[in-house]
């Protein structure tokens, strides 16, 4: 039996690309099972509520007979297995804290960027982003490390790098003055396997399925 992970997702980055970055950085054998938009309905109807798609949502990770749903569960499963969860009780807690905050930021970003009337909501959005990024900057700054929690990457860093990238695409100046976040963003992207992946044709471009983000 092939020991290969299969990551099932849509043809966008959104909630799954950070998992893919982990797989790439770890050089783990994996396959993407990308469900195009036009096939999603049929796929969901066929598998929703079964082990293959327990909650009718993607991403899904398959490994042999084991199927796991929920991006946070998948990221943590890999993090525990491949030592990307920090090296102490405190670091583990910090990983979770940063990861969950990045997820909250994603939800706000996702709602905003998919909104057809988003221009009228820009002020509120950037005001909230500003606060959240300031708070995040403060927390990672206090860790005083190469990455957000320690001098080795953790699963939180892959999500952080991606979410910061999503924001930079819509506002290139958003990390101005946020030096710790900038540093971590660049440190992640310059890790050799990540750098190679970002240049490759495996890399998906779009964070979310809209043309202007």
């Amino acid at each position: 039996m092939a020991n290969c992970y299969v990551l099932v997702y849509f043809p966008v980055r959104a909630r799954a690309e950070h998992i893919r970055l982990m797989l790439e950085d770890l050089m783990l054998p994996y396959k993407m099972d990308i469900i195009p938009k036009e096939n999603w309905r049929a796929y969901r109807e066929a598998t929703r509520g079964t082990a293959a798609l327990p909650f009718g949502q993607l991403p899904i990770l398959r490994y042999g007979e084991f199927t796991l749903a929920q991006s946070g569960a998948i990221a943590r499963f890999l993090a525990r297995k491949y030592d990307l969860y920090g090296s102490s009780e405190k670091e583990m807690a910090m990983c979770d804290m940063v990861y969950e905050e990045v997820r909250d930021i994603f939800e706000v970003y996702d709602t905003f960027v998919l909104d057809r009337q988003r221009t009228s909501k820009e002020k509120t959005f950037y005001s909230e982003m500003s606060q959240r990024l300031d708070n995040l900057e403060k927390v990672v700054q206090s860790q005083n490390a190469t990455y957000s929690v320690s001098d080795r990457p953790t699963f939180a860093d892959y999500w952080l790098e991606e979410q910061l990238d999503y924001l930079l695409r819509i506002k290139p100046s958003i990390l101005d003055g946020r030096n710790a976040l900038q540093r971590i963003y660049h440190n992640m992207r310059s890790r050799p396997n990540i750098e190679a992946y970002l240049k490759s044709d495996r890399r998906i471009d779009k964070p979310v399925p809209v043309d202007d983000a």
Binding site: A73, R76, F77, K90, A93, M97, E101
Partner: protein, 214 residues
């Protein structure tokens, strides 16, 4: 060395309740700072962001010694690691994470509805969403075939799930009835002696949300 955890949150159930349920069910001593929404919270938030005691300007926050931990998912997992509430195998740990986040997915549409002033108009659609989610939970419990959401004893995800099922039950008393395993699971959790006592006690916040409904 004995020390006490301190939980800082509003005087509501909300995102704090899974943490309280975890403490109560496992006989873990804890202190609380319950903060009133509005002026008191603004003050606590401002001071807390500055001092690092409210790291992301949000609650709940758990103080564990010199560490101030934000994000309910981080708090639950930290306590789970410390008190052996994270399952007993690689598979169980993964499922614990999955089911905790599923419980959060139950919370999202509920919160969106209940905090909206037009909640009554939103209620029928929310109930449809809730039924679909409960159907998926029923199927999962059937496949898993365990008394608790991951295994033979509760893990941190069970407390998150119990808190949400209780919200849903309070909203509509017969909402869980069509789902046999969900209903049995809800009863099993709620009737665990420490939790049964807690639900009857004056420690449990009377309000679920920061609005006068739910």
């Amino acid at each position: 060395m004995s020390h006490e955890y301190q939980l800082t949150y509003f005087n509501i159930r909300g995102l704090g309740e899974p943490i309280r349920l975890l403490f109560e069910d496992n006989g873990i001593k804890y202190k609380e700072q319950r903060v009133e929404a509005g002026e008191q919270w603004q003050k606590v938030k401002e001071e807390g962001v500055s001092s690092g005691k409210v790291p992301f300007g949000q609650m709940p926050v758990l103080q564990d010694g010199s560490m101030y931990l934000a994000q309910s998912g981080a708090i639950l997992r930290h306590l789970a690691r410390k008190h052996n509430l994270y399952g007993d195998s690689e598979e169980e740990r993964a499922l614990a994470d999955m089911m905790n986040d599923f419980a959060n997915d139950l919370r999202t549409p509920y919160v969106r509805m209940i905090y909206n002033d037009s909640w009554k108009e939103m209620l029928p659609e929310y109930l449809e969403t809730a039924k679909k989610q409960l159907e998926l939970l029923e199927k999962y419990l059937n496949r898993r075939g365990k008394p608790y959401v991951v295994g033979d004893k509760p893990c941190f995800a069970d407390y998150n799930l119990l808190a949400m099922l209780d919200c849903m039950h309070r909203l509509k008393e017969d909402l869980l009835d069509p789902f046999e395993l969900v209903n049995k699971y809800y009863g099993r959790m709620k009737q665990r002696p420490p939790l049964a006592a807690y639900f009857q006690s004056n420690r449990i916040p009377q309000k679920i949300n920061n609005v006068p409904r739910g």
